[in-house]
Amino acid sequence: MRGRLIGLVGLAAVACVVLAALFQGYVNPTMTLALDRLVFCF
């Protein structure tokens, strides 16, 4: 039970890091400059 809990917390932490990194990918200047390209096929 404890191992499962630790696993879940670890997994959630990894997921948060991945999501934050992806979100950062959206807000960096290169992506902002690519705005007209970004929206084209959203």
Binding site: L22, F23, Y26, F40, C41
Partner: protein, 412 residues
């Protein structure tokens, strides 16, 4: 016979199919989602105006929408695995062909026709058809919600991954990487191999021909109501996705706000589609659709009536993201419940065609109206009006199997 197993066994057996199907949707929708990033570098290197790229993308969406019912028909007839196999070959081939120097006509063929056909073989109507036949009825909506949620995550994740790929490797190599990624759908498709003829007639009703099934659906008031509602979904999401950045800049906000809004929509869409599928298994799907369309109307009204600030734009992105593609598992779930799953990929494809027509109009009318009136006010008004219409259209839909399926169950 798959469907005579106890429900728990069927759910356990279908998990592999669900995982593979979810990844297929994620790759398929995700790769497509990144095409906009290729607009500038490809147009520049090939000496095209923007229209060449735009035409190929418009053609791709058109081919995808028109081919979807036929791909669905093939899938229902031959099994999803074979159609996904063919779709993946066309998709990966189209991407590889895009990577070589070419003129506008060849680009229309590769990016427009080949990838449009590839999408029709590898996206959610095909996967939903196979999954719906494999899982027990009470888990169907949840399964579609999970698959669509993973697919939505693929969309969200692909843009920030592809942009550095283009900047680092150049667009031709980036396209080849995407082609290799699309080729991964080939082995994943094996997990969706099925033999529809083995589906039990006890659960799904006596086997009808595709012609009978389509006639049955087109003769049903509820099928039309559902399709028209989905038309509105396409209109709204494409209008917002394409024109929101320009609208925000017109309101004086910096471009970075728009990218965050689009990212929020993409991220919250993952959550919204999952919960739509989950709740769709517990509550009335048409009523949930009514709630979604009413919710969209309220969110749009609140957004455009209040002063537009970065905060109001972010709140709009969060709310709209939750309501974004959550209509997809619910709409397809109603198709499965009402018309059965034997011809589900084909009927889901017909409903999707209505979505694509709405999407075309939403994207095009936004620009058309803006050019003539100098503002988006009229299109925002249309989006709200259509949202209310869609809510009214979904309200009377009866989520009960058609008479033929009910009769089949009574006989059992």
């Amino acid at each position: 016979m798959i469907s005579t197993r106890p429900a728990d066994d069927r759910w356990a057996a279908a998990k592999g199919m669900l995982i593979a199907g979810s990844l297929i949707i994620a790759i398929s929708l995700g790769v497509r989602h990144s095409f906009g990033l290729f607009l500038q570098p490809m147009s520049l290197d090939n000496g095209w105006g923007r229209e060449t790229f735009a035409f190929a993308m418009a053609l791709q969406n058109l081919v995808w929408g028109v081919a979807q019912p036929f791909a669905g028909w093939l899938s229902d007839r031959q099994g999803a695995g074979r159609v996904i196999l063919g779709g993946a070959i066309l998709y990966a081939g189209g991407l590889a062909l895009m990577a070589i120097p070419q003129d506008a006509a060849l680009f229309a063929l590769s990016a427009g026709v080949l990838i449009g056909l590839g999408l029709s073989g590898t996206t959610f109507p095909i996967v939903f058809g196979a999954i719906s036949r494999a899982v027990p009825a009470e888990k169907r909506s949840l399964a579609m919600g999970i698959a669509m949620s993973v697919g939505s995550f693929g969309q969200f994740a692909m843009l920030p991954l592809v942009l550095p790929l283009i900047d680092g490797l150049g667009w031709p190599s980036a396209l080849l990487v995407l082609s290799a990624l699309a080729a991964l759908v080939l082995p994943l498709g094996l997990a969706l191999s099925e033999r529809p003829e083995t589906a039990s007639t006890v659960e799904h009703g006596p086997r009808t021909t595709a012609r009978e099934a389509i006639a049955e659906a087109l003769g049903s008031r509820d099928f039309w109501l559902l399709s028209l509602g989905f038309f509105v979904c396409g209109f709204q999401v494409v209008f917002i996705a394409i024109h929101m950045p320009a609208f925000l800049q017109d309101e004086g906000l910096r471009p970075g706000v728009a990218t965050i809004v689009l990212a929020l929509i993409g991220l919250l869409n993952v959550v919204g589609t999952y919960y739509a599928g989950l709740w769709g298994g517990r509550r009335s799907k048409p009523m949930l659709l009514v709630g979604i369309y009413l919710g969209r109307a309220i969110v749009i009204i609140a957004f455009v009536m209040m002063p537009v600030t970065p905060l109001s734009a972010y709140l709009f992105g969060i709310a709209m993201g939750l309501l974004w593609l959550s209509t997809v598992p619910l709409t397809n779930g109603v198709v499965a419940t009402v018309f059965g799953v034997t011809h589900m990929a084909m009927l889901g494809g017909v409903v999707f065609l209505a979505h694509q027509v709405g999407a075309f109009l939403g994207g095009w009318l936004g620009g058309f109206v803006f050019d003539r009136t100098g503002s988006y006010d009229l299109v925002w008004g249309m989006a709200v009006f259509l949202s209310l219409v869609a809510a009214a259209l979904n309200a009377p839909i009866r989520e009960v199997p058609i008479a033929r399926l009910r009769a089949a169950r009574v006989q059992v």
